[in-house]
Protein backbone atom coordinates (compact mmCIF):
# COMPACT_ATOMS: atom_id res chain seq x y z
CA UNK A 1 0.00 0.00 0.00
CA UNK A 2 2.70 2.49 0.95
CA UNK A 3 5.02 1.48 -1.87
CA UNK A 4 2.15 1.88 -4.31
CA UNK A 5 1.61 5.35 -2.88
CA UNK A 6 5.18 6.30 -3.81
CA UNK A 7 6.74 5.84 -0.38
CA UNK A 8 10.14 4.37 0.42
CA UNK A 9 9.46 1.58 2.89
CA UNK A 10 12.01 0.12 5.32
CA UNK A 11 11.81 -2.78 7.72
CA UNK A 12 14.35 -4.64 9.80
CA UNK A 13 12.02 -7.62 10.00
CA UNK A 14 11.04 -8.51 6.47
CA UNK A 15 8.84 -11.58 6.53
CA UNK A 16 8.64 -11.81 10.30
CA UNK A 17 5.15 -12.45 11.61
CA UNK A 18 5.66 -10.49 14.83
CA UNK A 19 8.14 -7.82 15.74
CA UNK A 20 9.28 -7.32 19.31
CA UNK A 21 7.49 -4.63 21.27
CA UNK A 22 9.18 -1.29 20.78
CA UNK A 23 10.60 -2.08 17.33
CA UNK A 24 8.88 -0.57 14.34
CA UNK A 25 7.04 -2.81 11.88
CA UNK A 26 7.61 -0.41 9.00
CA UNK A 27 9.37 2.89 8.51
CA UNK A 28 7.99 5.01 5.68
CA UNK A 29 9.48 8.04 3.94
CA UNK A 30 7.58 10.18 1.46
CA UNK A 31 8.70 13.44 -0.07
CA UNK A 32 5.40 15.06 0.81
CA UNK A 33 5.90 14.76 4.57
CA UNK A 34 6.34 18.17 6.17
CA UNK A 35 7.90 19.09 9.49
CA UNK A 36 4.50 19.05 11.18
CA UNK A 37 4.10 15.30 10.53
CA UNK A 38 7.83 14.63 10.28
CA UNK A 39 9.69 12.06 8.22
CA UNK A 40 9.99 9.20 8.42
CA UNK A 41 6.69 7.90 9.78
CA UNK A 42 6.62 4.68 11.78
CA UNK A 43 3.82 2.30 10.85
CA UNK A 44 2.60 -0.37 13.23
CA UNK A 45 0.46 -3.13 11.76
CA UNK A 46 -2.14 -4.36 14.23
CA UNK A 47 -3.82 -7.06 12.24
CA UNK A 48 -5.37 -8.92 15.13
CA UNK A 49 -6.89 -6.22 17.24
CA UNK A 50 -8.47 -2.82 17.09
CA UNK A 51 -8.79 -2.27 20.84
CA UNK A 52 -7.26 1.17 21.27
CA UNK A 53 -6.90 1.44 25.02
CA UNK A 54 -4.60 -1.52 25.61
CA UNK A 55 -2.37 -0.64 22.67
CA UNK A 56 -1.71 3.00 23.32
CA UNK A 57 1.07 2.53 25.92
CA UNK A 58 2.86 0.20 23.53
CA UNK A 59 2.49 2.63 20.66
CA UNK A 60 3.78 5.49 22.80
CA UNK A 61 6.81 3.41 23.71
CA UNK A 62 7.58 2.56 20.09
CA UNK A 63 7.17 6.18 19.10
CA UNK A 64 9.56 7.31 21.80
CA UNK A 65 12.21 4.70 20.98
CA UNK A 66 12.14 5.44 17.28
CA UNK A 67 12.18 9.19 17.84
CA UNK A 68 9.65 9.91 15.11
CA UNK A 69 7.11 12.67 15.12
CA UNK A 70 4.27 10.53 13.78
CA UNK A 71 3.32 6.91 14.41
CA UNK A 72 0.50 5.44 12.33
CA UNK A 73 -1.12 2.26 13.63
CA UNK A 74 -3.13 0.29 11.08
CA UNK A 75 -5.99 -1.84 12.31
CA UNK A 76 -8.72 -4.00 10.89
CA UNK A 77 -12.40 -3.44 11.53
CA UNK A 78 -14.48 -0.34 11.08
CA UNK A 79 -13.75 2.11 13.87
CA UNK A 80 -13.26 5.85 13.65
CA UNK A 81 -9.67 7.13 13.63
CA UNK A 82 -8.07 7.73 17.02
CA UNK A 83 -5.70 10.67 17.23
CA UNK A 84 -3.39 11.58 20.08
CA UNK A 85 -1.05 14.57 20.11
CA UNK A 86 1.74 14.78 22.66
CA UNK A 87 3.22 17.85 24.33
CA UNK A 88 6.08 17.93 21.84
CA UNK A 89 3.71 18.10 18.90
CA UNK A 90 4.05 14.44 17.95
CA UNK A 91 1.18 12.30 16.72
CA UNK A 92 -0.14 8.81 17.33
CA UNK A 93 -2.81 7.99 14.77
CA UNK A 94 -4.76 4.76 14.80
CA UNK A 95 -6.86 4.07 11.72
CA UNK A 96 -8.18 1.16 9.70
CA UNK A 97 -6.41 -0.15 6.61
CA UNK A 98 -9.52 0.75 4.67
CA UNK A 99 -9.56 4.39 5.77
CA UNK A 100 -5.86 4.84 5.04
CA UNK A 101 -6.17 3.14 1.67
CA UNK A 102 -9.11 5.33 0.72
CA UNK A 103 -7.18 8.47 1.65
CA UNK A 104 -4.07 7.36 -0.25
CA UNK A 105 -6.13 6.98 -3.42
CA UNK A 106 -6.66 10.73 -3.53
CA UNK A 107 -3.84 12.11 -1.39
CA UNK A 108 -0.14 11.76 -0.80
CA UNK A 109 0.95 10.43 2.60
CA UNK A 110 1.11 13.89 4.17
CA UNK A 111 -2.37 14.66 2.89
CA UNK A 112 -3.66 11.35 4.18
CA UNK A 113 -2.24 12.07 7.64
CA UNK A 114 -3.73 15.56 7.60
CA UNK A 115 -7.06 13.97 6.70
CA UNK A 116 -6.81 11.53 9.57
CA UNK A 117 -5.59 13.95 12.20
CA UNK A 118 -8.29 16.39 11.23
CA UNK A 119 -10.92 13.68 11.33
CA UNK A 120 -11.08 13.22 15.06
CA UNK A 121 -9.53 16.19 16.81
CA UNK A 122 -11.76 15.49 19.80
CA UNK A 123 -9.31 12.81 20.92
CA UNK A 124 -6.29 15.17 20.85
CA UNK A 125 -4.36 15.03 24.06
CA UNK A 126 -6.21 11.92 25.20
Amino acid sequence: MFSAAGCRVYSEHDGARDTPVGIADLVVWHESLDSERGAPVVVEVLARTSATGALIPRLRRTKQLTGVRTLLALTTGTHAPYVERDEGGGWIVQATFRDVLDLLVDHDLNGALVGLTGANRASDGA
Partner: protein
Protein backbone atom coordinates in the same frame (compact mmCIF):
# COMPACT_ATOMS: atom_id res chain seq x y z
CA UNK B 1 45.33 22.50 2.19
CA UNK B 2 42.65 23.06 -0.43
CA UNK B 3 40.82 20.15 -1.99
CA UNK B 4 40.56 19.78 -5.74
CA UNK B 5 36.87 19.03 -5.87
CA UNK B 6 35.06 17.93 -9.01
CA UNK B 7 33.35 20.69 -10.94
CA UNK B 8 29.69 20.27 -11.76
CA UNK B 9 26.45 22.15 -11.90
CA UNK B 10 24.52 23.09 -8.80
CA UNK B 11 23.33 19.57 -8.15
CA UNK B 12 25.64 17.18 -9.91
CA UNK B 13 29.38 16.88 -9.93
CA UNK B 14 30.93 16.07 -13.28
CA UNK B 15 33.24 13.31 -12.16
CA UNK B 16 33.13 10.86 -9.31
CA UNK B 17 34.73 12.01 -6.12
CA UNK B 18 38.19 10.55 -5.90
CA UNK B 19 37.86 8.64 -2.68
CA UNK B 20 41.50 7.62 -2.63
CA UNK B 21 42.66 11.18 -3.08
CA UNK B 22 40.22 12.41 -0.48
CA UNK B 23 41.40 9.83 2.03
CA UNK B 24 45.05 10.50 1.20
CA UNK B 25 44.56 14.22 1.82
CA UNK B 26 42.70 13.47 5.03
CA UNK B 27 45.50 11.16 6.13
CA UNK B 28 48.18 13.70 5.25
CA UNK B 29 46.57 16.43 7.34
CA UNK B 30 45.43 14.24 10.20
CA UNK B 31 48.41 14.82 12.45
CA UNK B 32 48.73 18.53 11.81
CA UNK B 33 47.00 20.18 14.75
CA UNK B 34 46.02 23.25 12.75
CA UNK B 35 44.42 21.18 10.01
CA UNK B 36 42.67 18.63 12.18
CA UNK B 37 39.18 18.24 10.78
CA UNK B 38 39.60 21.19 8.42
CA UNK B 39 39.76 19.10 5.29
CA UNK B 40 36.50 17.35 6.19
CA UNK B 41 34.89 20.69 7.03
CA UNK B 42 35.95 22.04 3.67
CA UNK B 43 34.57 18.93 1.98
CA UNK B 44 31.26 19.03 3.88
CA UNK B 45 30.86 22.76 3.18
CA UNK B 46 31.29 22.07 -0.53
CA UNK B 47 29.13 18.95 -0.60
CA UNK B 48 26.00 19.80 1.40
CA UNK B 49 24.82 22.90 -0.52
CA UNK B 50 24.39 20.67 -3.58
CA UNK B 51 21.20 19.48 -1.88
CA UNK B 52 18.38 21.92 -2.65
CA UNK B 53 17.60 24.16 0.30
CA UNK B 54 20.80 23.59 2.25
CA UNK B 55 23.30 26.40 2.80
CA UNK B 56 26.23 26.78 5.16
CA UNK B 57 25.49 29.78 7.37
CA UNK B 58 28.35 29.64 9.85
CA UNK B 59 31.65 27.86 10.39
CA UNK B 60 33.50 27.21 13.63
CA UNK B 61 30.96 28.90 15.84
CA UNK B 62 31.65 28.97 19.56
CA UNK B 63 28.98 28.78 22.22
CA UNK B 64 28.47 31.85 24.41
CA UNK B 65 30.86 30.57 27.08
CA UNK B 66 33.26 29.16 24.48
CA UNK B 67 32.78 25.70 25.96
CA UNK B 68 31.90 24.19 22.63
CA UNK B 69 32.43 24.81 18.94
CA UNK B 70 30.20 23.82 16.05
CA UNK B 71 32.09 23.09 12.83
CA UNK B 72 29.29 23.95 10.40
CA UNK B 73 25.83 25.36 10.93
CA UNK B 74 23.64 24.54 7.95
CA UNK B 75 20.33 26.21 7.21
CA UNK B 76 17.57 24.20 5.58
CA UNK B 77 14.97 26.03 3.51
CA UNK B 78 12.93 22.80 3.53
CA UNK B 79 12.89 22.67 -0.26
CA UNK B 80 10.64 20.01 -1.78
CA UNK B 81 13.60 18.46 -3.59
CA UNK B 82 15.69 18.56 -0.45
CA UNK B 83 14.69 17.82 3.12
CA UNK B 84 11.18 19.22 3.46
CA UNK B 85 10.55 17.65 6.85
CA UNK B 86 13.77 18.65 8.62
CA UNK B 87 13.68 21.84 10.65
CA UNK B 88 16.76 24.08 10.59
CA UNK B 89 19.46 24.34 11.72
CA UNK B 90 21.37 21.18 10.89
CA UNK B 91 24.65 20.99 12.77
CA UNK B 92 27.72 19.36 11.23
CA UNK B 93 30.70 17.93 13.08
CA UNK B 94 33.82 16.74 11.26
CA UNK B 95 36.24 14.20 12.71
CA UNK B 96 39.24 13.42 10.58
CA UNK B 97 40.49 10.73 12.93
CA UNK B 98 42.51 7.64 12.16
CA UNK B 99 40.45 5.72 14.70
CA UNK B 100 36.67 5.45 14.99
CA UNK B 101 35.03 8.32 16.89
CA UNK B 102 34.11 7.28 20.41
CA UNK B 103 31.03 7.62 22.58
CA UNK B 104 32.33 10.69 24.44
CA UNK B 105 32.77 12.71 21.26
CA UNK B 106 29.39 11.62 19.90
CA UNK B 107 27.78 12.56 23.22
CA UNK B 108 29.47 15.97 23.05
CA UNK B 109 28.07 16.50 19.56
CA UNK B 110 24.65 15.49 20.84
CA UNK B 111 25.02 18.07 23.60
CA UNK B 112 25.82 20.76 21.02
CA UNK B 113 22.69 19.79 19.09
CA UNK B 114 20.67 20.00 22.27
CA UNK B 115 22.06 23.42 23.14
CA UNK B 116 21.57 24.62 19.58
CA UNK B 117 18.01 23.34 19.35
CA UNK B 118 18.88 21.16 16.37
CA UNK B 119 16.88 18.04 15.61
CA UNK B 120 19.33 16.76 13.00
CA UNK B 121 23.11 16.53 12.93
CA UNK B 122 25.58 15.16 10.43
CA UNK B 123 28.84 13.64 11.68
CA UNK B 124 31.46 13.48 8.92
CA UNK B 125 34.11 10.97 9.89
CA UNK B 126 37.16 9.46 8.27
CA UNK B 127 36.54 6.09 9.89
CA UNK B 128 33.07 5.92 11.43
CA UNK B 129 32.18 5.62 15.10
CA UNK B 130 32.76 2.96 17.74
CA UNK B 131 30.39 0.12 18.46
CA UNK B 132 27.91 -1.89 16.51
CA UNK B 133 24.92 -0.31 14.77
CA UNK B 134 22.72 -3.33 15.44
CA UNK B 135 23.75 -3.90 19.04
CA UNK B 136 23.48 -0.18 19.74
CA UNK B 137 26.55 -0.21 21.93
CA UNK B 138 29.41 2.26 22.45
CA UNK B 139 28.89 5.41 20.35
CA UNK B 140 25.77 3.93 18.75
CA UNK B 141 24.10 3.91 22.15
CA UNK B 142 24.51 7.69 22.33
CA UNK B 143 22.80 8.02 18.96
CA UNK B 144 19.95 5.75 20.06
CA UNK B 145 19.50 7.67 23.31
CA UNK B 146 19.41 10.98 21.44
CA UNK B 147 16.77 9.49 19.14
CA UNK B 148 14.39 9.02 22.07
CA UNK B 149 14.61 12.79 22.56
CA UNK B 150 13.98 13.38 18.85
CA UNK B 151 17.51 14.26 17.91
CA UNK B 152 18.81 12.40 14.87
CA UNK B 153 22.50 12.02 14.19
CA UNK B 154 23.65 10.66 10.85
CA UNK B 155 27.20 9.31 10.60
CA UNK B 156 28.83 9.65 7.18
CA UNK B 157 32.20 8.11 6.35
CA UNK B 158 34.64 9.04 3.62
CA UNK B 159 34.19 5.62 2.01
CA UNK B 160 30.44 6.19 1.72
CA UNK B 161 30.74 9.75 0.51
CA UNK B 162 33.32 8.91 -2.13
CA UNK B 163 30.78 6.79 -4.03
CA UNK B 164 28.21 9.58 -4.40
CA UNK B 165 27.86 11.13 -7.86
CA UNK B 166 25.05 13.61 -7.40
CA UNK B 167 23.05 15.56 -4.89
CA UNK B 168 20.26 13.02 -5.30
CA UNK B 169 22.66 10.18 -4.44
CA UNK B 170 23.79 12.05 -1.36
CA UNK B 171 20.24 12.91 -0.36
CA UNK B 172 19.11 9.31 -0.57
CA UNK B 173 22.19 8.14 1.33
CA UNK B 174 21.12 10.41 4.19
CA UNK B 175 17.43 9.42 3.91
CA UNK B 176 18.30 5.71 3.88
CA UNK B 177 20.51 6.12 6.93
CA UNK B 178 17.81 7.98 8.85
CA UNK B 179 15.13 5.43 7.96
CA UNK B 180 17.24 2.32 8.54
CA UNK B 181 18.35 3.65 11.92
CA UNK B 182 14.69 4.34 12.78
CA UNK B 183 13.74 0.79 11.75
CA UNK B 184 16.56 -0.58 13.91
CA UNK B 185 15.78 1.57 16.96
CA UNK B 186 15.45 -0.39 20.17
CA UNK B 187 15.78 -0.29 23.92
CA UNK B 188 19.39 0.05 25.06
CA UNK B 189 19.12 0.39 28.81
Amino acid sequence: MALDLPIGDAHTWATALDGDELKARAEATRNAAADKGTILEEFAAWLLPHIPGLSVRATNTYSFGRASEVDLTVWNEQHEAGFRSIDPPILVECKNWHEAVGAAEVAWFDWKMRLGGATHGLLFTANGITGDATEKNAAYQIIQTARTERRTMVVLTLDELATQRSAEDLRYLIIDKICLATAAARQTV
